[in-house]
């Protein structure tokens, strides 16, 4: 399984990004890590280039919404497999947010799996179960 990952927007927080890469590798995924400070177009380009199964976007500085709200529009401009799983996780809002409101919001933007302030391993376990269920 191939995963493209990275931190979206003008966010330079690298520690979690590296931990995500290490965790994915330990779970047997092939990882294409675009690193911090990555724009949505670059993520979609990478899905096409690598023929990835999963896109895992992370964000810490809380500005992810502004960078991801056009995902649906952008998806239409690209041709890749229909079964690519779109996942986002981290700290998805500035200040204290209601996770019950955030999750549906990001699902509307075109994400299949959304994790706001959820433990990394819980998120990745959910991803693996999701992939098994949709295999």
């Amino acid at each position: 399984m191939k995963v493209v990952t990275g931190v979206v927007g003008n966010d330079i927080h690298v520690v979690a990004n590296r931990l995500i890469e290490i965790s994915l590798k330990e779970r047997g995924f092939t990882v294409f890590n675009l690193g911090v400070n990555t724009y949505l177009e670059e993520f979609l380009d990478a899905i096409v280039e690598t023929d990835a199964d999963v896109l895992l976007i992370s964000s810490l500085n809380g500005e992810a919404e502004g960078w991801c709200r056009d995902l649906q529009i952008l998806k239409k401009q690209y041709t890749f497999r229909k079964d690519v799983v779109f996942m986002i996780g981290g700290n998805l809002g500035v200040g204290e947010m209601d996770p019950d409101a955030l999750v549906p919001k990001f699902k509307n933007y075109g994400f299949d799996l959304v994790f706001h302030q959820v433990d990394l391993n819980v998120g990745l376990d959910t991803l693996e179960n999701y992939l098994k269920a949709h295999a």
Binding site: I12, V14, V15, N17, R18, L19, I22, S23, E26, G35, V36, N37, L120, N121
Partner: protein, 453 residues
């Protein structure tokens, strides 16, 4: 006119800069008070110098911060520069400074030195008549350093590697080397006017499980790149690792090897100093625990024989500290240091030997590169992964080295990536690591990053 002077005239002509009067600046530095030079302080005092961090947008707030620090008994004042100036975006800095001045709210996370200019800033620096250290994080610091020196700021932190790999994703590394070469040349020139300008490298790097061998190699190469341009006073630095014995071992090895490599390259007349950063990782939210951490770290600084300590505050976990909290930390560190005179030397010979071997092995690979100049050799070493910093956001960094803590909390190399360390040194590192049955490395890393929380 020399090539350097021609370059300087171009760099200092900018719509955000008032006329740069090189003759007047030279006359100012020649007659400047010795008290402004930390290099002079190092020569004349044995006491560990205490320096906090700090900077505000407006002149008035920095002035009041300095007053507070002086009352707390500070030895060296900081001037931290805002993030826009660090990225050479003087237009945004100007706008945000105006907003900060009008509304009494801080719209910048530091002092926009270019916008204030050297004529204004110099008034403050000479008023306090205390050494000031420039703290920034700027890959292209040419104008900033010109402005700092003209203001009477005679210690410049940073370097082409330590201000780039931890702070930037894709600023070109070769450009950073050349821009810092300019900085070194200007610092060397000013060093001939009065007391030497002190250059300081930034050893904490990404402040996340940094292995001492890599920290030391980077300190050594930045020192050599500075000395080869004629700088005469240089501080190597590192931050608290989380293991007291590893701090002691690191300090002993870095002191020994800095002198060794400086002499090897013929820089016998260079003064080398050691700076210790209090814990640079995530702080606890409990302020009493933060106080305990700061006190323990002060004890370690005394044990390692640091020439200067850079302090943290009990507000660290909550954001930029108030001037009162910042000054309180300075007073408390000074108080603790008063109890720590004449400590006996301790170390671990086996650990020192292994760390020395790893540093020498990496240095040998760096220096054996076929390139014709030192900066190109170092540039190639980073491209090849011979120098590889854990948790760097920069695209050129190899990101193959993985480190975790051993049962004594020493940071150990678990995966060496392309680090040119010998099998023997690597086996020593690996032999100290204990992973519990079924424990995943990534979970151990997460735990090891957060040991102070």
């Amino acid at each position: 006119m020399s090539l350097l002077q021609r370059e300087r005239e171009i760099i200092t002509q900018n719509e955000y800069v008032d006329h740069f009067d090189f003759e007047e600046i030279e006359a100012f530095v020649k007659s400047a008070s010795k008290e402004l030079f930390i290099s002079h302080r190092f020569k004349t005092s044995d006491a560990m110098q205490v320096q906090p961090r700090g900077g505000f947008p407006t002149y008035e707030k920095v002035f009041r911060l300095y007053e507070e620090f002086k009352e707390a008994g500070v030895d060296v004042l900081p001037l931290t520069i805002d993030s826009n100036t660090r990225l050479n975006d003087y237009a945004t800095a100007k706008k945000m400074l105006a907003l900060s001045e009008e509304n009494d709210v801080d719209m910048l996370n530091g002092y926009p030195l270019i916008n204030h200019g050297y004529r204004t800033t110099r008034k403050m620096i000479t008023h306090f008549d205390t050494p000031v250290s420039l703290r920034h994080g700027t890959p292209d610091a040419r104008l900033l350093v010109e402005m700092a020196l003209a203001s009477g700021i005679f210690e410049i932190e940073g370097g082409p590697i330590t201000y780039l790999l931890p702070y930037s994703k894709n600023f070109p590394l070769d450009k950073a080397f050349l821009y810092w070469k300019y900085v070194e040349k200007v610092c060397a020139l000013y060093s001939t006017f009065n007391e030497p300008i002190n250059r300081e490298s930034f050893g904490p790097l990404s402040a996340t499980l940094q292995p001492p061998a890599i920290v030391i190699v980077i300190q050594l190469v930045e020192m050599l790149l500075s000395l080869e341009e004629g700088v005469k006073s240089f501080s190597v630095s590192f931050s608290q690792t989380g293991s007291m014995i590893q701090d002691v071992v690191t300090a002993n090895v870095i002191k020994k090897l800095a002198r060794h490599y400086a002499d090897m390259f013929g820089h016998h007349d260079a003064d080398i100093h050691l700076v210790y950063h209090q814990w640079m990782g995530a702080f606890p939210y409990n302020k009493e625990y933060s106080d305990a951490l700061i006190t323990a770290s002060t004890v370690i600084a005394a044990m390692v024989g640091a020439d200067k300590i850079i302090t943290k505050t009990r507000n660290e976990a909550f954001g930029i500290p108030t001037k009162e909290a910042n000054a309180r930390a300075v007073a408390s560190v000074k108080y603790t240091l008063g109890m720590l005179k004449g400590l006996p030397a301790v170390s671990d010979e086996e650990e020192e030997e292994n760390l020395t071997s790893m540093v020498n092995e990496i240095m040998e690979a760096v220096l054996n590169d076929g390139a014709d100049t030192l900066w190109r050799k170092v540039f190639n070493a980073i491209k090849k992964g011979h120098i590889d910093i854990p948790f760097s956001p920069h695209v050129i960094n190899a990101n193959e080295v993985i480190t975790i803590r051993d049962p004594q909390e020493n940071i150990r190399i678990l995966e060496r990536g392309k680090l040119p360390i010998s099998d023997r040194s690597f086996a020593f590192e690996r032999s100290k690591i204990r992973l519990n049955e079924g424990e995943r490395v990534v979970d151990k890393i997460i735990k090891d990053i957060g040991i102070m929380q």
